[in-house]
Symmetry: C3
Subunit: 267 residues, 3 copies
């Protein structure tokens, strides 16, 4: 799909996020930068109502609590009833019993269009052994195969599944995309994964095929990270954070085409 | 009033904010930048106590929940009892039943000195038909007249009422100010409205006339946005956000006088 | 200790933070910048579990509420049981009855390795008279002696006690360090104290002696503030904030040795 960014900017989809308070500002600014319109609303009294009128819902469990888990479930069900695509970011899945129970429940009660996490988080969902150290990527399950893990999740839950890492893996029904974009230094800025999940929601609200939405989001975020690092590598990670939003705000389809780095295969 | 900024910097008023977690950091930094001292406290056990010793209270319902709505009401009442001016930012009023009920209740239970929102939010308060898409400005009620809407709210609730947009409208008792400052790109940074409400509280804590406080805040924010956009228009919206705080931290009365763009009329 | 930063970067300790939502993003990015791995988790159902597997726990009461106070206590107890060092940042202690009660309770139920606050906050803990205006430093108790106040807290609670100000004071068992680093403009960025508490946790997770950890953190933060101010003094406080994280991400032991500014004495 060669025009995902221009389509997104033309549509300016409303993206409802129930997300963590650590990175919520960056998620909102990333969604605005790529062309969407974010709304954060996590009270159970309005979560379903807002989700129902949004073009996408993003559920991120990074700072979940007993109150917001209920709102996540309610918003997810309302989105499902109204045909609104739902993105799950299972931050820290496997790191605590609460996170495991929350993810298990959401996967039972809500149909997700796209699930995006790091290898350890998605391995938990796949049912593989996964010991997690904190919420950061690349710390465990290093020997697992992302395509195998993502395929297991995609098949079991019927969701396009994205595992981000040095190479991002996107697995849909019958299709795999591998995306070589981004840089390791993005891991030194909190919330690059959350921002990616946020813009994945924005693309999913504008692009009808969730596989194409997930690929467009991952490549946009990766390129933004590369551009930002190039600008700020001699400055530091505070500037890298700002530059990632800058790059997202200037992203366009021509930049993505010129970058390349996406390979597709059937499965 | 030609010395609002210097007065604010001399007074350094304590500004109590019960505000949303999306933009709270920018609100705090904006208040510091313009010369105030922010304190965020939203538990019902301390909200009234903190409000009572503050110089201004800012209530922003952007990520309201059942718990914080009670704190907003309690803080507002305590502020009223102690003569502390209260600013309302009715983020997303009209977007959900919860937000409508919250705004209705706050307007019944608390006397506001200043109400600031976009046209859609203030139209809801005015009782006009208003369908809201998300929390962003300019999306609906585009054909309504800001002066008419703001005047209805000002008259009904006895509050200086500010509607921000391409031109900001400030309506007080017998007075109208129109402020031409700012730029459309500010809408690509989350929280420029929240920041404005925050610094409106700071000015209200130092300047005795809420109409003058509201005008000074709106023109300061608008100029900061223009200066920031001038510096960052070839860079991106991440840098624009940072540059807005930069510009607020360097704002002074001479810059405001030199800018102009404020016109007054009676009503 | 001449290799604290390199040790921290080599260890990359997991740092569990229950902290306020105003500055949580900067705290996370500061911990990442200095070489740690932050995790924010404040639900009572997981707070103890996460604390138990972390290398340090940081409790910051900046936006405490009835729910999170319970989580702070539970996490603190779990950390104590598992030998995980705990850092307390008593934001606004003395500013409300709730904050006083919370601090009193935490000090009864949890053994802290390090307590870090401004003079007014630590004076409250010391039991001295302290009237607090908001959460900012330097506003009251200006005539008190930091060494006397910190020593009283260190002796009573058996915790390394840090009072930050124009000169930072670190008091341990039998030792005092005075650190001349940083600049007044850091007070114009919200959360520099919170960031310092966060990286204090990171150092405490890598350096076995909490006194050395506290000194390394304070000097790192102070130098970062100086470097950042030097770069941004003609720009503004938005850029100062970003530059502080930049400087932390480039901090190393050689920079600290070259800076000097630390003096030690016995007590």
């Amino acid at each position: 799909m060669d025009n995902a960014v221009s389509l997104l900017r033309a549509e300016c989809p409303l993206v409802h996020c129930i997300t963590n308070y650590v990175t919520v500002n960056d998620v909102a600014n990333a969604i605005l930068a790529i062309g969407g319109s974010p709304i954060m609303a996590d009270d159970i009294a309005e979560a379903g109502e807002i989700a129902a009128v949004s073009r996408a819902l993003v559920i991120n469990i990074g700072t979940l609590n007993a109150r917001t888990v209920e709102s996540m479930a309610a918003a997810g069900k309302a989105a499902n009833e109204h045909g609104v695509p739902v993105v799950l970011d299972p931050v820290g899945a496997g790191a605590s019993a609460l996170r495991c129970q929350c993810v298990d429940r959401l996967l039972r009660e809500v149909k997700f269009s796209i699930i995006r996490g790091n290898l350890s988080e998605v391995s938990y969902i796949a049912g593989y052994e996964s010991r997690t150290k904190g919420v950061d990527s690349g710390l465990t399950a290093a020997d697992a195969d992302p395509v195998r893990v993502a395929s297991a999740v995609a098949d079991r839950f019927g969701a396009v599944t994205v595992i981000t890492g040095a190479v991002d893996t996107v697995v849909g029904s019958g299709r795999i995309a591998r995306i070589k974009a981004g840089c390791a230094e993005m891991g030194k800025v909190t919330g690059t994964g959350c921002m990616l999940s946020g813009i994945t929601g924005a693309f999913a609200g504008a692009v009808s095929d969730p596989f194409e939405a997930a690929v467009a989001a991952a490549v946009s975020m990766g390129i933004a990270g590369e551009m930002a690092y190039e600008r700020t590598k001699d400055i530091g990670t505070g500037s890298l954070r700002t530059a990632i939003i800058d790059a997202l705000s200037r992203m366009d389809d021509a930049v993505i085409r010129a970058h390349g780095g996406i390979s597709y295969e059937e499965r």
